[in-house]
Assembly symmetry: C2
Homo-oligomer: 355 residues x 2
Amino acid sequence: MEHDLSERKKQILKAVIDAHIACGEPVGSKLLAAKGQIALSSATIRNELAELTEMGYLMQPHTSAGRVPSEQGYRFYVDSLMEGYDRTATEIRELNDLLTQRTRQLDRIIDDAGRLISTLTNYPAIAVRSHPRSQTVRRFNLMLMDTYSFLLIMVISEANVVTKTVRSQIPLTEEELKTVEQVLNRALVGREPDQLTLSQMMEIEAAMGRLGSLMSPILKCIYEALRADNRSDLRVEGVDRFLEYPEFSSVDRLRSMLEMLSNKQELLEIVEGAQGDEVNVYIGSENAADQSGDSTLIFKTIMVDGRPIGAIGVIGPCRMDYSKVISTVEQLSRGIAGMIRAQRMLPDPDKKDPP
Amino acid sequence: MEHDLSERKKQILKAVIDAHIACGEPVGSKLLAAKGQIALSSATIRNELAELTEMGYLMQPHTSAGRVPSEQGYRFYVDSLMEGYDRTATEIRELNDLLTQRTRQLDRIIDDAGRLISTLTNYPAIAVRSHPRSQTVRRFNLMLMDTYSFLLIMVISEANVVTKTVRSQIPLTEEELKTVEQVLNRALVGREPDQLTLSQMMEIEAAMGRLGSLMSPILKCIYEALRADNRSDLRVEGVDRFLEYPEFSSVDRLRSMLEMLSNKQELLEIVEGAQGDEVNVYIGSENAADQSGDSTLIFKTIMVDGRPIGAIGVIGPCRMDYSKVISTVEQLSRGIAGMIRAQRMLPDPDKKDPP
DNA sequence: AATTAGCACTTGATCGTGCCGAGTGCTAAT
DNA sequence: ATTAGCACTCGGCACGATCAAGTGCTAATT
């Protein structure tokens, strides 16, 4: 675990992992010697490989096979060995395309980001829209639709406005509705649903006068709006990409992957349980959602003004193009955060989008 | 193709298909004779099977295997042979649970319906939200957020209200905003975006007075709101269920299934191209989305007031529990239609939900 | 002392072989 | 018209031989 690897060992380890990431097969000493990366004979490399195996960085599927990185090996690679990734021009353009479309709903942005990241990395992607910690309605607005129904508009946040149609048993007028609107704004703005007591509800009902009977359906709507938006949502994009990787070409592996992805609850818990500022990389058994321990989960929480609003990431084999994926996830999540900040119309000049 | 099947042949064909649907393996004469369904010896059954095979209703995977229904066989089964399905009490409860939750957004309803139908049938499900033919804003409402921004609320239909935040370069007052609101409601309600000419836009800008500069961002929002909602959306739920069926246990089959499901465009075209009043059953090669011709697509459009608003269905192997799936799709789509009708608060007493 | 060449050994993958059983088609008997 | 019986076909599976890749070890080399 400690950094007790000689420079040469690191070089060889990196070469093994790079090669394995590229081709997916166990890599042997001969191949490494031939590639020219390392100026040593295969025999010497063999000795080093044996030691790296001893130390737990590599594994042999069987006695006469090449070496494959172990979890520990991947971990070390990700932490210390990996180089940055150079994005191609096309990729940059696609990223920008997404990020310049400003006037879109949060759901759609995150959804599209999932799709995009799946395309860019060629792995199945997950996109999560988190529930905010505690939510309240910032402002109510009522709009008469016809004599017996009105639209209840609830501004929860800049990017999140919920509307519901409410039907009344008794005829409505504009003026009465205005009164109700004022009552709601005075009594319920900034209130969490579980802070509301029965006596308060009675007061509200009284204040609403002739339209007191509307209180109950309205409160129900509010409760549902806050609740509905409270439910986190996880989407999976591009499962079919699993099939491109030989490690999942066995039906059993595939099954365990698909089962993991359909177990959205657990994935959500993992994603929401992670702290936000870093790209999270769970290799093999570190990825608790996957029983088989043969997959890697990479994701990053999207932070806006210090609060998590969602997350995007990918799932793939342990043999993953880590540098590319990590930098893509990093960049895209930052881009989305910036985009959402920009979409909030309140100007906040002291905050700048990260590059 | 004609109904030139003797009663006995029909009976045997039905027995073969039922058995095959139940167990998934080719069924032989012996099995049928043993099952007691048919009071004939295996030899006689063999002769009938041979004729049914001749006629194209059955197939033999190889010389010494039992028979498997052909597409034509399934088609005949679905059209003439199949019995109705008796829903269990639990299933009825689940259906009702979904259908009694009234105050939810269209998107979520259809989404959940997809999930539910996938659970009930145990096949992967598709859920489509269709775009309406032509859309217009029914009503505009502006809400001041702060001095430099306001909320633009567009009522497109009862179940579809879009909100966007618009930022202004110049300070805003409540009164000016009311004026703009009136201008919008007078000039743009019921207008399709491509009916709007430049000269009309100029008039609007003039009518908006000091806030004329807001016209362009507002129009952009309107355009996007109508457009965004115009995009049909197809979701797939429960892909992992493919793995439960032996016909998809080969990776290649699985690949073609997943590829089909990720080709949302084509699926959408099929679903939106179908007429609405019936459950559509595309067996094998009839399902154009699937190159392999080894899957069946069953779906039904959800009609509300004569217009399609979406669709739900399932995808599975040709060997499918047709009667169960068809009745589930049927029932659920009707239920959803009824639910949405109920959600539209405008009372329409002359229409009743189908049972 | 470190590196390299050479060689015997291990082991999964591949391919051909033969056996088994399920199911058929046909013929002859009922 | 139905059924019993029988020879035949063909996929699936287990077994075994062969192959190639890659190793670990020892002895030679720098």
